[in-house]
């Protein structure tokens, strides 16, 4: 589904991504972990065609990213960490707007909006202005917008940051339900427990390099099941040349 080979990205003299290679199969959830500034957001930006890169190749759906960006974008969705919608529009107005600008029309639009509402349990707040929603409801709207084009790949950038623990669980359940629908997900988060809970595999980025890419199950077995992901992450990111 996603194949990255020897990807390099440089900002002036600073190397943001250093020879990154990664593959992710259809229907898998990949947790992208790393300290602040490690290169997670840059990688997600590049995969969405929002940031240019200097070298390497990226193939998504078997298509080269650079040559097939519009097609790849049509089949994938980027859900930013911030509430990327209009606070002064109602929930339904926001959904209609984002469906409209993606050229999702008529019955297809109605179906897409209904599906996004149902998955994210937004029925009771359709006419509410977005600014009057709670943090958790806003995040559900944020995710609902990302589902309108029925994407095959979803990029979620810290979707539970700043959300109450109770609401966080319901959002995680929603995200986990995407896997059942056959979606492929790249998920960035600071919460190790979440990654453990919903991801199939994890990639740890440190200073622009992927120092570990493994299934959660294997990673925890390697450590004889005595450790948790947080401990492993701290060990890997603390030492100079660690890898898993």
């Amino acid at each position: 589904m996603i194949t990255i080979n020897n990807l390099c990205k440089r900002y002036d003299q600073q190397l943001a991504l250093d020879d990154v290679s990664l593959t992710l199969s259809k229907g898998r959830i990949l947790g992208l972990l790393g300290p602040n500034g490690a290169g997670k957001t840059t990688l997600v930006s590049i995969l969405n065609g929002l940031t240019p890169y200097q070298s390497g190749t990226i193939s998504i759906f078997g298509l080269n990213l650079t040559d097939n960006l519009p097609e790849i974008r049509r089949r994938s969705s980027f859900i930013p960490q911030s509430f990327a919608f209009y606070e002064n529009l109602s929930v339904i107005e926001n959904l209609r707007f984002f469906a409209g600008i993606q050229n999702i029309k008529d019955k297809a639009a109605l179906n897409a909006i209904e599906r996004a509402i149902a998955i994210n349990r937004l029925e009771a707040m359709l006419d509410k202005r977005a600014h009057s929603l709670s943090g958790g409801q806003k995040q559900r709207l944020n995710i609902a917008i990302g589902l309108l084009n029925d994407p095959e790949i979803i990029y979620l950038d810290e979707p539970t940051a700043g959300i109450d623990p109770e609401l966080r669980n319901s959002i995680l359940q929603t995200i986990h339900s995407f896997k059942d629908a056959g979606k492929t997900i790249i998920y960035t988060s600071h919460y190790m427990q979440e990654i453990e809970q919903i991801c199939d595999e994890v990639a740890i980025i440190k200073q622009g390099r992927i120092i570990c890419h493994e299934t959660i199950a294997k990673l925890l077995t390697k450590e004889n099941g005595t450790s948790n992901l947080e401990t492993i992450f701290l060990q890997l990111t603390a030492s100079e040349d660690a890898s898993c």
Binding site: G49, R73, S77, P80, Y86, N88, R96, G100, N103
Partner: protein, 384 residues
């Protein structure tokens, strides 16, 4: 896609009370206030100067001079006890005898002016007084030569003074039509109000950027030209609505308050051209400021300041004809001045499309340059 962008922008503006106030209420109030405040500036029938006469001579000639002075509509005689007058004329004893004297030591009259009277007003007053004295002299000469030239006494000097020597025809205006304060203030405040699209535009645009809505839209295959079209078109329409409402206020509401009604000129195409071109310049300025500013507060403060500067320089706040020549030249750097001249060409000078083309092209060029600059900066910022 464009339909959704337009709908979204309209809903957001309609729900933003501050923007509505800046776009519609502020220019509307300015038009009412300034049309009423400047009403007398353009009224040729009103008294420009008040004066008093202290007649020490008390002769037929001194009384005749006072009668001549009363015929002027721009001078208003007042009793000195009522209030302080602009000018005071003292007719000294011996005035009548001195009228035809060749070598006089003292001037015929004594004038005293208040220090705040403008020089041009004193010049107008002197011209009127000189003409009246000449008339008195002619009457005295006529009297003196009458015994020798009987025909001269038949000449009625009064007809010289009552006859209409010329008509004033204001170029581009219909017969008997005169420039009014409304003709000046409506274009000025339309121009000023149009540039206030900065408030709704920056509020929406900066929030879109900060909340990564723009980035999300880019990831949905929305190109920067499409994004900009989604900004330019709605605000073009909002600006046209402003123009229509302000012209409507000038035509229908100002007269209800006692002001002069606006006459919107004779070229609808010219009006549309100048209005769309100016809107393009205003939107270009707003998009660039919104692109450069980091916060909404920054954009609205900087945008407001730029608007006030453009307005002050461009003749919106102080009409250009009040400015000295050098300042009038300087005013031409402001796009508000180009727009204002375009509107004045239509409203006041009766011009059409051909005459306003230079201003329209300058405004479109200005708007296009700023939009291109904003697009370049934005595309760099979106591609982190």
């Amino acid at each position: 896609m464009l339909k959704q962008m337009l709908q979204k922008e309209f809903i957001l503006v309609l729900r933003d009370k501050h923007s509505l106030a800046a776009l519609f209420i502020m220019p509307f109030i300015f038009i009412l206030i300034m049309s009423m405040a400047l009403k007398d500036t353009f009224n040729s029938e009103r008294a420009l100067l008040t004066y008093e006469i202290i007649d020490l001579d008390k002769t037929l000639e001194s009384k005749t001079l006072q009668d001549f002075m009363l015929t002027s509509s721009f001078l208003q005689r007042q009793d000195s006890t009522e209030s302080e007058t602009h000018l005071s004329i003292t007719i000294p004893v011996g005035f009548a005898d001195a009228l035809l004297e060749k070598e006089r030591q003292e001037p015929l009259l004594q004038l005293s002016a208040a220090p705040d009277v403008k020089q041009e007003m004193i010049l107008i007053f002197r011209a009127k007084l000189t003409a009246d004295i000449m008339r008195l002299r002619l009457m005295q000469i006529q009297e003196k030569i009458a015994p020798f030239l009987p025909d001269a006494s038949q000449l009625n000097l009064d007809t010289f003074h009552s006859e209409k020597l010329f008509d004033i025809d204001y170029r581009g205006m219909q017969e008997n039509e005169q420039p009014t304060s409304t003709q000046q203030s409506v274009p000025s405040w339309i121009v000023f109000g149009m540039f206030f699209v900065i408030i709704p535009m920056s509020t929406v645009f900066i929030n879109e950027r900060k909340q990564k809505t723009l980035m999300r839209m880019a990831s949905m295959n929305i190109s920067i030209p499409a994004l900009f079209a989604g900004k330019v078109i709605p605000y073009l329409l909002i600006n046209q609505l402003q123009v229509l409402l302000m012209i409507g206020a000038g035509i229908y509401i100002v007269p209800l308050l006692g002001g002069d009604a606006l006459t919107p000129g004779h070229s609808l195409a010219g009006l549309a051209l100048v209005s769309i071109s100016l809107s393009f310049a205003a939107i270009g300025t707003s998009v660039l400021i919104a692109t450069l500013a980091k916060t909404v507060e920054q954009a609205t403060t900087v945008g407001g300041l730029i608007n006030i500067l453009f307005g002050a320089i461009g003749g919106v706040m102080v009409p250009k004809f009040y400015m000295p020549e050098s300042m009038q030249q300087f005013a031409n750097i402001s796009p508000m001045s180009w727009g204002l001249e375009g509107f004045l060409d239509i409203f006041l000078r009766g011009h059409g499309v051909k005459e306003i083309l230079p201003e329209a092209m300058a405004l479109c060029g200005f708007g296009l340059c700023l939009l291109l600059l904003a697009a370049t900066i934005l595309s760099k910022r979106l591609r982190v």
